[in-house]
Amino acid sequence: MSIATPPVNVLKASDFASDQDPRWCPGCGDYAILAQTKKVLAKIGADRSKTVFISGIGCSSRFPYYMNTYGFHSIHGRAPTLVTGLKLANPGLTVWMVTGDGDALSIGGNHLIHMIRRNVDVKILLFNNRIYGLTKGQYSPTSEHGKKTKSTPMGSPDMPVRPISIAIAAEASFAARAIDIDVKHLEYVLERAAHHKGSAFVEIYQNCNIFNDGAYSYATDKQSKSDTTLYLEHGKPMRFGKELDKAIRVNQMRPEIVNVKDVPADELLIHDEKAPNPTLAFMLSRMRHPDFPEPLGVFRAVDQERYAQLVRSQSEQAVQRLGKGDLQALLRGSETWTV
């Protein structure tokens, strides 16, 4: 008898599209992210029946309806809680969570932190458009200080949060950033996230062309983007600029911009996404336009034990130590008497 190779059911990106038409505004950055996600799923040979998309509330959270996988469009901010429960029930599923800056960082900020610190095995796509889109234009937790919106006619008095800083502070084992219109790089980052075991946090700069158009024009504009962004590569110096003529150096624990030709090569900061200590990743998360180029790519990717696996291994240990539970004995308890 010969051993036949089972036929591989190769799916195309379009096989991951559901029968529902996306209802995002024409020109929304979400379309590009949807397209790249489907492409990555096809590329990594994802099994539709074992893939689940879970979201909260907001424009981005419509995402699961457009995927021909299992999906759950939950309630505002609570997607991480459903993800955690689902992974406990069935760790074999591949779970993607789709969220936005309001959903993840405002109403759901608490859950996001705790899911990441537990290292629940999930890919988190945070669409950061720095505005509330679905409720039509209020400022979000990532809106700039002083930003004028419908709810802040005199400018936002809030200081914005930095999503990757929060993820790193919550002990993220994986944190990365991409931009919606740089589709090649977005695909790379999504693929990296797909392969990560544990909480893979991806901030995606996403343009809301209705309520916050041009929020990232500094980072997407052909003229300026090479000076305002920095593509991280593991083991390589952090160089940027049209001719890669500029770089980052650390001086007295603070990053500074240097001209490559002015400083010895060994003084340039080398990216290390696997550094056990998260200090470097955190420092990178603080680099903000216009003072610094904003890093894109994988900030941090380290191996950590995953939550559902840990919980289940405790159950296995308990069975090894005590044997499989005997319900009748449990109901009897330790002290009984007969009447």
Binding site: N68, G71, I75, R78, T84, G92, Q328, W337
Partner: protein, 655 residues
Amino acid sequence: MSIATEPAGPDGSSSSSDISTKPRKSLPAVTIRFAGDSGDGMQLAGTQFTDTSALLGNDISTLPDYPAEIRAPAGTLAGVSGYQIHFSSNDIFTPGDEVDALVAMNPAALRTNLKSVKTGGIVIVNEDSFTAVDLKKAQYTANPLEDGSLGRYRLVKVPIDKLNAAATADTGLGAKDTDRCKNMFALGLVYWLYGRPLDATLGYINKKFAKKPQVATANTKALRAGYNFGITTELFQEHYEVPKAKLASGLYRKITGNEAVALGMVAAAHLAGKELIYCSYPITPASDILHELSAQKNFGVMTFQAEDEIAAMGAAIGVAFGGALAATGTSGPGLALKGEAIGLAVMTELPVVIVDVQRGGPSTGLPTKTEQADLLQAMFGRNGECPVPILAATSASDCFSAMVEAFTIATRYMTPVLFLSDGYIANGAEPWLVPEVDKLPKITIHHPTAANDEAGFMPYQRNEDGARPWALPGTPGLEHRIGGLEKQDVTGNVSYDPANHERMIHLRAQKVAEIKPAGPAYLWNGPQSGDVLLVGWGSTYGAIRAAVQQLVEEGVSVASCQIRYLNPLPEQLGEMMKRFKHILSPEMNLGQLRMLLRAKFLVDVQGLNKVRGQPFTISEITRGVHALLRGNLDGHMVTVNDGPAPRIEPIDDEG
């Protein structure tokens, strides 16, 4: 009641031979209460007395009563912790109305508990603690041990501090450690008084302090010293016994409501052939369920201590979506936080059991005290038309069967289920006839593996029960999306169509309205018609049932109906109520069931309402019935203050 003439038998442990010739009197039932500072170990003394009495074969019912503060300032009224035990040779249903014997470890304990003691009752006080300082903390202006104010009681002054110190002096422990044994001295004394053996508590001490032999020795010595003090002291002229109760034959154990909830969940998982994942955030008085379940990991039980109440509910929904048995537990404030997510479980029609161990509200309220004021929250506390079936357990042991029923309903009808318990039955203990696992009903669950329609899988196509299919992620070909937005009938796609929305609202309402109970929908006691029907729900069962028994003996025409299934309410209840002249609903709230009954059945239900953080006594209910029959009504309520003030009261008015 008979007085035994023979000298007491060897009722102590083997080494405590009772040489006393004091007469022993047999009593049918006794209620005692241990009261002291929250650091005095009164809860432990109480549970040990309960265990020993249960093992002796008495029927038991207990009422732990402790402050919300872990350690309120020592000696103050706020810091008093009590544990009441009713033990009997008959069937009993409550922890007892009046206390036969009170142990008060300090003046504050005496002051806050004396009201509960019946005239002629025994009051054992630790006279060493009646110092000027402690008397002042208890707001006594004169020493009650000396001013004659305790003349109604049989006062027994025992220098417990000194006797305990002497008994434990040669154990090598410091004074601070030996002082902590005085609860054992008090327990030993009460064991002698009621003819209980020391064995069970000695066994407990040796197990608990196996690694601290000095502490074990000190506690053992204190316990024996207390017992022997009873034999030799002139303070007691007699002691007592309470014979075994005549319970249905079988194997018994002691159980609290929270334990029974946890065991019910483990049993439900076993009966369904599923794993159980319990998601919860710590909250009084529900946390013990989390503790119990976290110790059952070898039963396919997992626990998730969430970051907050909302996360606990959200995770439970995720668990249900993934196909395991999902449960969460909380108290009133937590139920309020879970409301939105419960709505999501209603919309996505996923099975989750939500336990609410009710406590005094509103807001933080009285965290350690009991109340039944979450019924309307359970019924209506969500946005939109959001029906959820509600079960209420009637006793500690009923929590077990009601929990198995809750999972049966949740999985059969694909719905979240609210399970109501309260602080009284959650912490109170009673004997439980241990069920045989093989005789418990199986929970049948079906997960589809193939499409249910030519056009593909329809996640909202319903079966004859109105339930949608429970298709699990990981099943090839059944990929589908669910969520909180309104669903198109059958397909489950998002739909904003007005007619569809109305249809779905009706379908969800109808599904819950037509639920068939998985156990008794109500418990009935007494005749089918008459003058008064008492309609209650939840933990008031014991007091109502005992009150009916007493009233029937007095010749009153009365019956009771304790509702277990509060949503949907038993349809036949409307007709049944019409066979009585008066309907009276005793509740630990201002009339929530009464409001539902009046609305649904258009019956003139009167209320007997108490919201003092304490369960009803039997006499409060009998007095309420008499007041009703005298026409003594205040609006639609009979007030419990109609007669003398309620007996069980933590702190008097000056407190």
